[in-house]
Symmetry: C2
Subunit: 311 residues, 2 copies
């Protein structure tokens, strides 16, 4: 089934201990759409400026991504510049220029309105809610947010969370959102306030999905997917968006919304995140094959599964 | 098969956001031995002072642990005092009094000398090497160390690592030991310099075992075991030692040294670590049953294993 993402298309300048790149294609929408494109038909809703050329758009189109929802505004495209230290844990933001993104009001093309799988990437929760309300047919709505919105627009965010089925955020954001330093307790508080499932991303340690009682199946057992121990991380930018793309893309490709599908989606999320960090920018995500992806899925399986169940 | 541990018996004063305790039984040898005692016969070599009473010894004996190797010296038992903040990540040490531990020279009782499974808990690497050399029959030698020894006795430690089969340390220690900020690369450097397998403990995110090519089986695929998302961590003291006790204890209980045994041992390590943090001190480890342990093993399995392999 098709999957629609509303997010940012951007230009990024990135410096890591392994090198640097200048004004390359980036943004949550780019990473998400490319990662998801290996699983299902992807539709992008975003805004770009005059500096976004047909060649940039072709990066998405070559992966079969529908770009009819990309609005062109006068001015420059969203620009971000950041630097990572030796541990790659968190980027130090050097510059953020919202540019055309500042006045972004997502408009969903008419032919997209009945898309059943929707992902609200990390944008203003007020806009996320507007999009969600335009698409009442959506069967599964995933979303992201960040500390900026948790701190500045908590009330709006809390309302928006009620419109999401699965929220994907990291450990710190989960604890901040719930005002609780215990991750499992914080996760349960988040689930009580909105989404039916919460994916907490642990960076190099993988991710855990927590379920609300009865959501997508029976019980509340969480499920943890690993991340691959990658020898040479070049650039962690977009890893979380790529995880979300693999996760949502796989779910949209399946006929049912079951715990098993969501668990396998966690693995595919980890797989796409692990590819993303191998190169600067989204480059690695532009030329994968489904065979490479499934081979890495098997590596993730071997990394975590016991073969025999004897004692 | 019996398992011998050389480590510390200590008294600990611990403060965490959930409470505090004063001068309770602790030390790496205590946590390790108690955790391992659910899997196999355990023998402890350590030193204690006048303040270590028969009642303290009985805590070990009630778990069937052999205490013949506990030396009594004049003076006071090793004392440690520490405090944890809200995130429980690392203890702030408030006091360390080595006391009788300062002049500890481990003496292995004659009847222990042919023990085939040996664990060298976190003590001076020079002493670890002395013990190892007294026990040439040891079939599998596990060991621990810490940043203190990596910084102050690197050369001795490097020699001692050649005498170990499995080293169990955390992420920071691995990177420090290898002078490399990439964990998988650091792990391979450590393996090249000594042990056949390296267990890197990630705290609340579980642990990963890396294998040297050909060690215990074929290939170099790592394996990752989770930690349980525990709602109410009370006291993380001894979690790493309890992991090591579950890991080594399970291995000693098995007939073979295969990859599958080591993988299941990683799960049992995680299980014992997860019990340890539920109460202050080693209390939880004194009254478990094997049924509770195996039930939690199943929870760990459900937390990580996909049930079906369809796409």
């Amino acid at each position: 089934m098709p999957l629609l993402v509303v997010g940012s298309l951007a230009f990024d300048s990135i410096k890591t201990p392994r090198g640097h790149v200048d004004r390359i294609l980036g943004g949550s929408g780019t990473y998400f759409a490319l990662a998801a494109s290996y699983f299902t038909e992807v539709r992008v809703v975003a805004v770009v400026g005059d500096d976004f050329t047909p060649e940039h758009e072709a990066v998405l189109q070559r992966r079969g991504i529908s770009t009819d929802g990309i609005e062109r505004a006068r001015g420059r495209t969203f620009f971000w510049s950041g630097e990572y230290g030796e541990n790659f844990n968190e980027a130090k933001t050097l510059a953020t220029e919202l540019n055309v993104f500042q006045n972004f009001r997502p408009r969903i093309p008419r032919q997209y309105l009945n898309t059943e799988f929707l992902f609200l990437a990390n944008i203003d929760p007020v806009l996320q809610a507007e999009v969600r309300k335009q698409m009442p047919a959506a069967k599964l709505v995933g979303g992201d947010t960040m500390n900026y919105w948790i701190n500045r627009k908590r009330e709006d965010l809390v309302e928006t969370l009620k419109l999401m089925d699965v929220l994907l955020i990291n450990d710190t954001e989960t604890k901040m959102l719930a005002h609780d330093s215990s991750l499992p307790r914080a996760a349960n508080k988040v689930l009580a306030s909105g989404p039916r499932a919460l994916v907490v991303k642990h960076g190099e340690y993988g991710a855990t999905i927590f379920f609300r009682e009865g959501a997508f199946g029976v019980g509340t057992h969480p499920f943890r997917a690993p991340a691959l121990p990658i020898e040479e991380v070049r650039d962690p930018t977009g890893a979380g968006d790529s995880f979300a793309g693999g996760f949502m893309g796989y779910i949209a490709s399946q006929g049912e919304l079951s715990r098993e599908v969501l668990k396998r989606a966690m693995f595919y999320g980890g797989v796409m995140g692990s590819f993303a960090v191998e190169c600067f920018g989204p480059e690695r995500l532009t030329k994968l094959t489904r065979e490479e992806i499934d081979a890495r899925f098997q590596i993730f399986r071997e990394l975590t599964h016991l073969d025999h169940e004897s004692r």
